[in-house]
C-alpha cells in the first residue's frame, strides 16, 4: 500500500516536471512559428536576396526599400568587437577575484559585479549618453559622439558582469588538487592558472562567452540611446542601426507592410542566435569530451 502511494507521488511529480519542460519547449516553437508566419510572407514579398543583401533601408520611400544588410553587418561588427575585448578582461577578472585576491576582497568585488549584472539596460544607455558619447565626440573630434564605437563601449561594460560571473564559477569548480600538484612541483601559481586551470575550465568559459554574445547581439535599449540609429553601412565612428534597434525604431508608426518586414528582421535575429548557440554547443561538448 505504502509503496503504491510513493509510486503515485513519483508519477505526479514527474508529470508536473514534464509539463513545465514541455511549456518551455512549446514557447520556443511558438515564437519560431509566430515569426515565420508573420515575417515570412513579407520577406518573400521583398525577396530573400534583396532583404538580406540589400544595402538601402527606406520604409518611407515609394516604393519602400527594405534591405537590412547594414543592420546585419552592424550587429555582427559590434558583437565581434564587444566579445573580443570583453572576454579577455572578464577571464582575467574572474581569475583575480576567485584565485588571486584575498578572500574578503574577492567577495566584495564579486557582490559588486553581480549588482552590475542586474542594472536595467536603459541606465547603461543613460550613462553612455552622459559620459561616453561626449567623450567619443571630443576624442575623435566628431560632429556627434553617437557612434558604433560608443555602443561597443556600452556593450562591453554590460557584458562584463555576465561573462565574469559565469567563467568564475567554472574556474572555481576546477579540482583544487591540480593546483596542489602544480605547487608541489615548484610551479608558480600564475603559470599553473593559465596552463592547467583555464584549459580545464574551458567549456564553462565558452558557455560564458555564449551568454555574452547573446547579450551583445540582443541588446536594444542601451545601444539605441548611443548608436545614433541611422541606417547605413557600419563604421566605428559613424552612427549605425542594429537589427534590434531597427525593429524598435519603426514599430510604433509602421505601415502594415513595414510591420511584416520588421517581424522578418526579428526572424533573422532569431535564426542567428539559434545558429550561434548551436556552434557554441558543439564546441562546449567537444571541450567537455577532451577533459572528461
Amino acid at each position: 500500500m505504502k509503496t503504491q502511494k510513493v509510486y503515485l507521488y513519483n508519477s505526479i511529480f514527474k508529470a508536473i516536471v514534464f509539463f513545465f519542460a514541455l511549456v518551455t519547449v512549446l514557447s520556443v516553437i511558438l515564437i519560431g512559428v509566430f515569426m515565420i508566419v508573420n515575417g515570412g510572407p513579407s520577406i518573400a514579398k521583398v525577396g530573400l536576396k534583396d532583404f538580406l543583401l540589400g544595402k538601402v533601408w527606406n520604409s518611407a520611400n515609394e516604393p519602400p526599400q527594405y534591405g537590412i544588410l547594414a543592420f546585419i553587418v552592424s550587429s555582427f561588427y559590434s558583437t565581434f568587437f564587444t566579445v573580443l575585448i570583453a572576454v579577455p578582461i572578464s577571464i582575467l577578472v574572474a581569475l583575480a577575484i576567485g584565485q588571486l585576491m584575498p578572500k574578503g576582497l574577492g567577495t566584495v568585488i564579486r557582490a559588486i559585479i553581480s549588482l552590475l549584472a542586474g542594472i536595467p539596460s536603459v541606465i547603461y544607455g543613460f550613462l553612455g549618453i552622459i559620459f561616453i558619447v561626449p567623450l567619443v565626440q571630443k576624442v575623435f573630434n566628431l560632429s556627434s559622439g553617437l557612434t558604433m564605437f560608443s555602443s561597443v563601449i556600452v556593450l562591453i561594460v554590460m557584458t562584463l558582469p555576465t561573462i565574469i560571473s559565469v567563467s568564475e564559477t567554472s574556474i572555481n569548480a576546477v579540482d583544487k588538487g591540480y593546483m596542489d600538484a602544480a605547487f608541489a612541483l615548484g610551479v608558480r601559481k600564475e603559470y599553473a592558472l593559465f596552463t592547467i586551470v583555464l584549459p580545464a575550465a574551458k567549456s564553462g568559459i565558452m558557455a560564458a562567452v555564449l551568454l555574452g554574445v547573446g547579450r551583445a547581439i540582443g541588446e536594444t535599449m542601451a545601444v539605441m540611446m548611443v548608436a545614433g540609429n541611422i541606417p547605413q553601412m557600419p563604421s566605428m565612428l559613424k552612427p549605425v542601426r542594429f537589427l534590434t534597434t531597427a525593429i524598435v525604431t519603426e514599430m510604433s508608426y509602421a505601415t502594415e507592410q513595414t510591420r511584416g518586414v520588421l517581424i522578418g528582421i526579428g526572424l533573422v535575429l532569431f535564426v542567428f542566435i539559434f545558429i550561434i548557440n548551436s556552434i557554441f554547443h558543439f564546441f562546449i561538448k567537444k571541450a567537455g569530451a577532451v577533459n572528461g
Partner: protein, 249 residues
C-alpha cells in the same frame, strides 16, 4: 645527521598549535613512515617539509627544517626550489587534465628543460614509476583515462621527472585497491635506492611492511621514532604500544 633534520618545529593554525616542537632526523635513501591516529599532525608535519603549508592562511611555523644543510624556512630561500627538490604525491591521484606525456613533461618544461630532452625524461620517469610498459603506446591519451592506481603511479612519475632528492607521500595508497597498493609499495622499495621516501599512512601494516624507520605521532607530539621493528615489536612508550597493538586509533 640525516638528509632532513627538524629542529624545535612548531606549527600553529591561528591560535591552535597543531604540531609541538618536533625534533626529527630523516635518513637518506630510507623509507620513513609517519603513523598515528587522524588529527595527530602527521600530514601537517609532512607538509612542513616542502613548505606546502605556506598556502594556508593563518598558518605560522617556528623552528627549523634543515635540508641538505640549509634551513628551508630561511627568508632567503625560494620555496618553489624547495618543492622542486622534494616531490609530493597526494592522497587522491591528481594527474592534470592533459595527456600522459604532458603530465610528465609539464614541470621539467616549466623549469627550463629543452624540448628535445623531454622525450627521454618522460620515458625514464615512467620506467622509474613502473608505468612505462602499460602506457608507452598511448602517451598522447588523456591521463584521466588511466585507472586510479595507474594515475597514482603517473603522479609519482611526474614527481620523479624533476629528479628530486626526496619524495613525500601523503597516504598515497589509501584511495587505491589492494593490488594497486601492492604495486606502489613495491615501487617505493625501488625508489628508495635513488631517493629518500617519507610516507604518511594510517595503515599500520603498510608501515611495518615497507618502512625502515617509523615515527609515531599523537596530538601533535612526536611520541616515538625508531626503526620500524622496534616501533612495532618492542616500543619504549606505552602509548606507542597501545596504538600499534590496536587499542585505539
Amino acid at each position: 645527521m640525516g638528509i632532513i633534520t627538524t629542529k624545535d618545529l612548531n606549527l600553529y593554525y591561528g591560535d591552535k598549535q597543531a604540531i609541538n616542537s618536533i625534533n626529527m632526523d630523516i635518513e637518506k635513501n630510507r623509507i620513513t613512515a609517519l603513523i598515528g591516529p587522524s588529527g595527530c599532525g602527521k600530514t601537517t608535519f609532512l607538509k612542513t617539509l616542502n613548505r606546502m603549508n605556506d598556502t594556508i592562511p593563518n598558518c605560522k611555523i617556528t623552528g627549523e627544517v634543515i635540508f641538505d644543510g640549509i634551513n628551508i624556512y630561511d627568508n632567503k630561500i625560494d620555496p618553489m626550489l624547495v618543492r622542486k627538490k622534494m616531490g609530493m604525491v597526494f592522497q587522491k591521484p591528481n594527474p592534470f587534465p592533459m595527456s600522459i606525456y604532458d603530465n610528465i613533461a609539464y614541470a621539467p618544461k616549466y623549469h627550463g628543460k629543452k624540448k628535445r630532452e623531454l622525450d627521454e625524461i618522460v620515458e625514464k620517469s615512467l620506467k622509474a614509476a613502473a608505468l612505462w610498459e602499460e602506457v608507452k603506446d598511448r602517451l598522447k591519451k588523456s591521463a584521466l583515462s588511466l585507472s586510479g592506481g595507474q594515475q597514482q603511479r603517473l603522479c609519482i612519475a611526474r614527481t620523479i621527472a624533476l629528479n628530486p632528492e626526496v619524495i613525500l607521500m601523503d597516504e598515497a595508497t589509501s584511495a587505491l585497491d589492494p593490488i594497486s597498493t601492492y604495486k606502489i609499495e613495491d615501487l617505493m622499495g625501488e625508489l628508495k635506492k635513488t631517493y629518500t621516501v617519507v610516507i604518511v599512512t594510517h595503515n599500520m601494516q603498510q608501515a611495518s611492511r615497507i618502512a625502515d624507520r617509523t615515527a609515531f605521532f599523537l596530538l601533535g607530539d612526536l611520541v616515538e621514532y625508531d626503526t620500524t621493528e622496534n616501533i612495532f615489536v618492542n616500543p619504549r612508550n606505552q602509548k606507542t604500544l597501545d596504538y600499534v597493538s590496536g587499542h585505539f586509533g
